[in-house]
Symmetry: C2
Subunit: 323 residues, 2 copies
């Protein structure tokens, strides 16, 4: 086995991300040594992307590198944590220096922009897959959880929903390809983790989750963890211009509600803090949109202005019933 | 995609390992929240095992679970670190509850025995692979590195070398199968990470590495990182009873020197500390064996008592030359 070639790969990552004074020992030894600032809690997340499951084989390596870190930073964002360090387990079928250079370019670009230092890695031979572990910091007692929502809390989301799903649809189904511009494509390939938004919400939101599997599923997780339900006003769900056009053509609400890969945040806010959150939202270009309210009655109800409820069945089809 | 089934998998790991009071939030949210004790440095490592590359498809799931954590704890041991937490990224081609239960059994058994709590996980669909990240603690200024060896330092190893390699050979080549007893098999399937030994050596050794790719390769890494060379007395390399018999039959020194998967420690000791290290070695059942000495002249020289040098070529063949 040409292990030396795999060592060579490691060199593309030897100076990856933002230099940090708290890294006592970085890549190249058995482990990394890190100084955790006193009075902070450590936040740890891990996410894996597997070829043909999470990304098509022809994904540009730079996009994959970017996205593999972005989805992990999104997990930190949902905790209200400040990103600090990451490790990377990269499995590749063969050594392709151009591919690795491209991957490292995307990964390290986002790491540098996010204040993250890559401190450890493992490159192995096998079917292509990327597993990233992120380490972040949060004040003790801080740290947004999924479980803090209470009846009466308002439900918000950042940004717009369904863009990544629409981009994927437009890539795979030629009759929708007219929707696919570079901006929509970027929403799929290089999602923006809402890190600063999550940190700012740390003391204001009662619960948060990032939307990786679609609003309906992920808000469902938040509600279950909190032991509450919610009603969502369908017409309030924030949509980008292409998604609005697509919806006008199709009436397919299911897409923005069930498509994954958006990596926006969904969070709940106790009503006394709503004015603060509304002001805060104006400071971020993605914006915060109020979409509904938590209730004691379990379950997620997706309501139109005419009072009818949208029902999503397991196959992703929709129908409406009177409430 | 039956994501619910993958959620089910996560339940096998929901109470995995040693309960720890410093876990503020464990498995089940976007990330884990951990309290790092004041005055400690964080030690982070990551290692991936891929099916057909690092383990055969018919590996018992419990053995794979055990070994996937063991190889990571071995990295912590080589840093002199106390294990604390782990995350697990598990990629599986399909949901097989029996397989997952077996894997979790082996993984969580070693976690509990090592004081480690599993705090995060990600199960995905794809070709079978296991990526584990371990987090440990060490006193500031502690932490064994690869780079601290100086000329004159004595070179030691723990345990015996080549057992896992001999077990693998006996499994694959029927003419060696008479060597394969349960003890040798366990050396391959359930290696013992030398955690307590590494911690005890933290203040005594000048450099350390764990032997995952064979003594020659891994000691070579330690020497390169330290900017020194070494001479090893071949007859001093500690061998188990089966390996001694195999060597008597074959004269194949290359096996114990190049076979991977032993997960013993190789470390250097400044000569003034040799007496302390010798006493310490008697406290561990694996023992410490003095095998050679670091020198200013770069490179690794493997010397027999008759003065001849063993040369290992890239294909793993050996020959001897006069020194």
């Amino acid at each position: 086995m040409p292990l030396a070639e795999f060592d060579l790969i490691a060199r593309y990552f030897s100076d990856c991300g933002h230099p940090r004074g708290d890294v006592a020992l970085g890549i190249g030894d058995d482990c990394a040594l890190l100084r955790v600032p006193g009075g902070k809690q450590l936040v740890v997340g891990v996410d894996t992307l597997v070829e043909a499951i999470h990304f098509p084989p022809d994904t540009a390596p730079g996009d994959l590198g970017y996205k593999s870190l972005a989805v992990n930073l999104s997990d930190l964002a949902a905790m209200g944590a400040q990103p600090a360090w990451a490790t990377l387990a990269l499995t590749l079928p063969a050594v392709d220096p151009d591919w690795v250079r491209g991957f490292a370019g995307g990964f390290c670009e986002l790491a540098a922009a996010s204040g993250v230092r890559l401190v450890g890695g493992d490159t192995t031979r096998g079917p292509r897959a990327v597993s990233v572990q992120v380490l972040g910091l949060v004040d003790p007692g801080g740290g947004l959880r999924r479980s803090g929502a209470a009846p009466g809390d308002r439900i918000y989301v950042t940004g717009t929903l369904g863009d990544a799903g629409l981009a994927l649809k437009a890539l795979h189904e030629s009759r929708w390809s007219h929707h696919l511009g570079p901006e929509l494509r970027r929403r799929l390939d290089r999602p923006t983790p809402r890190v600063a938004e999550g940190i700012a919400l740390g003391r204001l939101a009662s619960a948060a989750i990032d939307i990786s599997d679609g609003l309906a599923a992920d808000l469902g997780h938040l509600l279950s963890a909190s032991g509450v339900g919610a009603v969502i006003d369908l017409e309030r769900v924030p949509l980008g211009p292409q998604m609005r056009r697509y919806l006008a053509e199709t009436g397919d609400y299911a897409l923005p509600l069930t498509a994954g890969d958006d990596y926006e945040l969904c969070f709940s806010v106790p009503s006394p803090r709503v004015p603060q959150v509304e002001v805060l939202g104006t400071q971020f270009s993605c914006g915060f949109t109020l979409i509904g309210e938590a209730e004691a009655l379990p379950g997620l109800r997706l309501r139109r202005h005419d009072g009818s409820l949208l029902i999503l069945d397991r196959a992703g089809y929709q129908h409406f019933v009177d409430s």
